[in-house]
């Protein structure tokens, strides 16, 4: 990969990586750290990675960095990653989007990650499996379970309203 292709990957994928990590971690500062670490790792291997595979490399690296960060926090605090940190750009959400955000935040980390990769980035089951280290069957199962939970959550909200 050339320097120009590297810089192009910054323009093309940094938003998606940042969005994905931010939705999972719910912390802007940590999401920025993950994005910077990810691109630094990419730069160190810039000659080994081709431009066609840079997106999957970025998301794979970012995902594993995020998981490491979550596990480290669990060891230090004994809790899951703080979920009360909200993104600062919350004013543009619609009603359904806000409900979905809350519902997604309640999903287990694995299900949340695979659903985000599927919906935000349009990855196939095989690609999601490569990024997360899961099998393709596991990815399908997580997506099915996640969709069902979200549907029931929305249904319950509508029932209350």
């Amino acid at each position: 990969m050339t320097v120009a292709e590297y810089n192009k990957s910054v323009d093309d994928h940094s938003d998606g990586v940042y969005r994905f990590i931010l939705k999972n971690l719910k912390n802007e500062e940590k999401a920025r750290d993950v994005v910077q670490d990810t691109y630094e790792k990419l730069w160190l291997k810039v000659e080994e990675i081709s431009a066609e595979k840079v997106k999957s490399y970025l998301f794979t690296t970012a995902y594993h960095t995020m998981i490491d960060m979550i596990r480290k926090e669990k060891r230090l605090t004994g809790f899951e990653a703080e979920k009360h940190d909200r993104p600062t750009q919350a004013g543009h959400y619609t009603g359904l989007s806000q409900i979905l955000e809350k519902a997604v935040a309640k999903l287990p980390a694995d299900q949340r990650s695979v659903i985000m990769l599927r919906d935000y980035e349009g990855y196939s089951y095989e690609e999601i499996a490569a990024i997360t280290g899961l099998t393709e069957s596991q990815v399908k199962v997580y997506i099915f379970r996640g969709r069902m939970f979200l549907k029931n959550y929305i249904g319950s909200i509508e029932a209350v309203i």
Partner: protein, 321 residues
């Protein structure tokens, strides 16, 4: 394990050992009857795995139990046209399921495009700099080649004397004084050998002219042509070698071969003592100390003594004669 291999292990312990090996197959290789082909590792897979799998088409009908799965598969794009039609027919037959199907269509997340990473400029790279070590390699290689060339190639031969002719009155004031090349330099080496002597042939006088000939004067001196013509000594005659010796009295004259190289001529121009004094000045400035170095030389300029002084002590050394 040793007891088992020697046949001394209790049957109950043998059973425990076998159970342990069943759970930890990596230790089976230590058994004498170990057969690697029978060992199951993580790389062993069931080859006909895909034949066991089933799809939505294998489900004979859509029921309340698998309706959610069909809806999710439809939203994921996993159903073929036939199964989509079956689902549509089921929903048509069960109108209360339409709401559930609509909810499944809503739970697809949409990317928040307003959420952008603002530090892109810091991530970008302008260029990929070469590793610094390559620069050191290149500099070292260039310096080595330069020093080698300066050591190998010799400066053109210089004449030992430079002669400037006095300017004539008829010449203009701005004219450059003409210098004429010396016929042959005075060789200071010991290798100069004089040219062989020429002997004069006796003159043959014809007998008819014998009366008019005057008696020959005896040849008292043999004329020996000298191959060396001493240069004209003028007021402008300068000895280049003498000047060099006066300018650098403390420097021992190096051998001819090294001095004639570019590197040797470069080193001749360097005044190492002044360089050392400058370095000591810089050292005193940086460390706020008062180090000084002095020397004593004899009439010929050779170093005879050295003095190093600091704030609290001084060191003197004289050359051992």
């Amino acid at each position: 394990m040793l007891d088992y291999l020697e046949g001394n292990l209790d049957p109950l312990l043998t059973a425990d050992l076998m159970a342990f090996l069943a759970e930890n197959p990596e230790f089976e290789k230590y058994l004498p009857d170990y057969d690697s082909s029978l060992s199951l590792s993580d790389t062993h897979e069931y080859a006909q795995k895909n034949e066991l799998k089933r799809g939505f088409a294998d489900l004979p009908e859509i029921t309340s139990g698998n309706f959610d799965e069909f809806c999710i598969a439809a939203c994921e794009g996993l159903l073929d046209e036939k199964d989509i039609n079956r689902l549509s027919d089921f929903i048509a037959q069960h109108s209360d399921k339409q709401h559930d199907f609509d909810l499944y269509r809503k739970v697809k997340l949409q990317p928040d495009t307003d959420l952008q990473y603002t530090g892109k400029a810091l991530l970008k790279k302008n260029h990929r700099p070469l590793p610094l070590r390559y620069l050191y390699y290149a500099m070292g290689l260039a310096a080595s080649i330069t020093l080698l060339l300066m050591l190998v190639f010799r400066k053109p031969a210089e004449s030992n004397f430079t002669v400037t002719l006095p300017v004539n009155s008829s010449q203009s004031e701005n004219s450059v004084p003409q210098t004429e090349p010396l016929p042959a330099p005075i060789r200071r080496s010991r290798d100069a050998t004089p040219a062989p002597l020429k002997e004069l042939e006796p003159k043959v006088i014809a007998a008819s002219n014998a009366v008019s000939l005057t008696p020959l004067q005896p040849i008292s001196d043999v004329q020996i042509p000298s191959p060396i013509n001493p240069p004209r000594i003028t007021d402008h005659l300068v000895s280049a070698a003498r000047n060099n010796q006066e300018q650098n009295p403390s420097r021992p004259y190096s051998s001819d071969s090294f001095a004639n190289t570019y590197l040797g001529s470069l080193l001749r121009r360097v005044n190492f003592w002044k360089t050392a004094e400058t370095a000591i000045t810089g050292f005193n400035y940086l460390t706020e100390s008062q180090l000084s170095v002095g020397r004593t030389t004899d009439d010929s300029g050779k170093l005879t003594g050295l003095l190093i002084e600091m704030e609290s002590y001084s060191i003197t050394g004289n050359k051992i004669k």
